[in-house]
């Protein structure tokens, strides 16, 4: 099992004829992802890597049953493309594009919430279920099938930490980039919930960074989880980010700093790594404690290891 996607997932690529769309369609196909169709307005009849291209999403859904769409569309066209995919009945969207206007995101998320669609991104590398399916732009070589769930805001930092896990033989169940923008479709909690319910995931790695309050929001939920969570937060020594006037201070009420996030997570029982390279060791410890536990896999709710 994995979360959100698996080898059955049929995928549409919006913006398939652009440079990025083309390159990553080829990469996804090579990984084994079931890419069935592409959309670029005006390019109907073309093929990209053997994948047929349609003018509209509806034209594609008339011929294929599509579970998920990945968007490489230019930022100014993302709102229209995302609404088009949802209106055509697609319920999982992965928006790779960065610099999408934030008010466009608000509209996309409002529609998604109303019809019950799941949006990953924008400004994400996507989702990977190692060995089964990759939707997005993450480098294929760094993943290994296994039981660690990874959820992150930052792309290259995910590659860093997942690459380390793989190098030590620690595989992943699913790796999800929720996206680096202020408004994204899924929160840490949304993804943590899925990992908690996923029988193939035994430990979760949360990769956060300073700014916003996504990590703090996740902390109360983590206290209820039966699975151990390991975290790394970037930005301990980074320059302070922009402040959003008084309103930002009111929304966040002093949250958003490295130390505030770290304390919130640690109080929720999360082991926070000081350096990205320490995550693997902590995960290995958690895994060995789980396997040493005689109740492992039997009574989840009583078998949480004590630190």
């Amino acid at each position: 099992m994995s979360i959100l996607i698996d080898e059955q997932t049929s995928v549409l690529v919006q913006g398939i004829t652009g440079n990025q769309g083309r390159f990553h369609t080829q990469q996804m196909l090579a990984y084994g992802t079931n890419v069935v169709a592409g959309v670029t307005p005006g390019r109907c009849g073309m093929e990209v890597e053997g994948v047929p291209v349609f003018d509209t999403v509806r034209a594609a859904t008339e011929e294929y049953s599509i579970d998920a769409s990945v968007l490489f569309t230019p930022a100014a066209a993302v709102k229209d493309a995302a609404l088009e995919a949802m209106e055509a009945g697609i319920r999982t969207l992965v928006i790779i594009t960065e610099h999408v206007p934030v008010h466009d995101c608000l509209e996309i998320m409002a529609y998604a919430d109303r019809i019950g669609a799941t949006i990953i991104g924008p400004n994400t590398y996507g989702i990977v279920s190692p060995g089964r399916c990759k939707i997005g732009i993450a480098p294929s070589s760094i993943f290994l099938p296994g039981s660690v769930g990874v959820v992150a805001r930052s792309g290259t930092l995910s590659y860093e930490i997942v690459g380390n896990l793989t190098a030590s033989g620690v595989g992943q169940s699913t790796v999800v980039g929720i996206g680096g923008d202020r408004v994204v479709g899924q929160s840490f909690i949304d993804i943590l919930r899925l990992f908690e319910a996923d029988s193939a995931t035994s430990v979760v790695v949360l990769i956060g960074e300073i700014g916003g309050s996504a990590e703090e929001e996740a902390a109360p939920y983590i206290t209820q989880m039966t699975k151990p969570v390991v975290a790394y937060i970037a930005g301990q020594s980074a320059p302070p980010g922009k402040r959003m006037g008084h309103a930002g201070a009111i929304i966040e009420r002093g949250r958003g700093t490295y130390h505030h996030k770290r304390r919130a997570l640690e109080e929720a029982g999360v082991r926070v790594a000081e350096l990205p390279s320490q995550v693997t060791g902590i995960v290995q410890t958690e895994l060995s404690m789980l396997h040493a536990d005689p109740f492992y896999g039997l009574i989840w709710s009583f078998s949480r290891p004590q630190q």
Partner: protein
Amino acid sequence: MRLFEYMGKQLFIDFGIRVPRGMVCDTPKTAAQIAQRLGGPVMIKAQVLSGKRGKGGGIRLADGPKESKLAAEQLLQSTVQGFPVELLLIEEKLAIGQELYLSLIVDGVSKKPVLIASAQGGMDIENVPEEQIIRQPIDVELGLPTFLARDIVRRLKIVPSSPCGKALTQVVTALYRLFTAIDAELVEINPLAICGDTVYAADAKITVDDASLYRHAHIPTVSELTLGEQEASKLGLSYVDLDGEIGVMANGAGITMATLDMITYFGSKPANFLDIGGGANQEATRKGLELVLAKQPKAVLVNIFGGITRCDEVAQAIVGIRRQYGKSIPMVVRLAGTNQDAGRAILEKEAGIEVFDLMQTAAQRAVELAG
């Protein structure tokens, strides 16, 4: 992008929100002329992008043209919270009865705009107790219709059907129209001044979403960056000056922050923050390295994890810069991801640059070379 108060107030006027009468100027002489025309006591307000302008001495009260000229002279030679004062807004002084707080902000947690209002406006809104603050998430499909605005006015303990309540209701709906029309991340009025039956926006704080600027050609460009930072921003790079000794270039904000953290962890300090972007190409790498080298750091650490970025392209760019700038500043490169072997071969064979697989060992080596 943050806007100056006077720009925000112009937008308020465009959307039917009343502001005090006033004009901007950049000399004491014009300040006096404006004060003369306004008549009576005036406020002289430094146009800087600092939050704590009042406390920082950037706002003066002056009685008539003579005093205005003097105050303008002093302000134009001063800095407020580190920002030099180059422009002043001269305004009529209002006879304020009550000060409210009103703002709209994009909230990432609820994925909605949130209206924030309080009957306790003024300088210290951060200190207003939580229970005195109204937070109203806005459904973007519904917008902020009059009935909702009326209810917010009621919750501010002002009778919505009174003349003042009606004026306030209009301000609330107009502010939301402005918020969406200019793709704002934040529009804030603090204080929103009640003077009898009239409501004035006595201040204006607006942040426009950078990603939306392409569709707002009429909004003037405001830069709050240092020269190096402006240069970087033109190239699509994200750069911040710091005061340490190791120049840093990485791709992606998260990994760049982690790189700074690592340098600090091993006992040195970064000279800058430079994120050349998750999809960095040869051009971005070249320009980025030039920026880093311009500060003459003791060592340079390049940390690239290729996703969209291809390591061989980055390596080519580094070799090019190395030929141009020589080898006086030691450089350590960490390459991983797409085409990493090709990239490593180029760097080692063509430029003799040390390449590492791991970020940690690369950071350690850079700290060693800088020490």
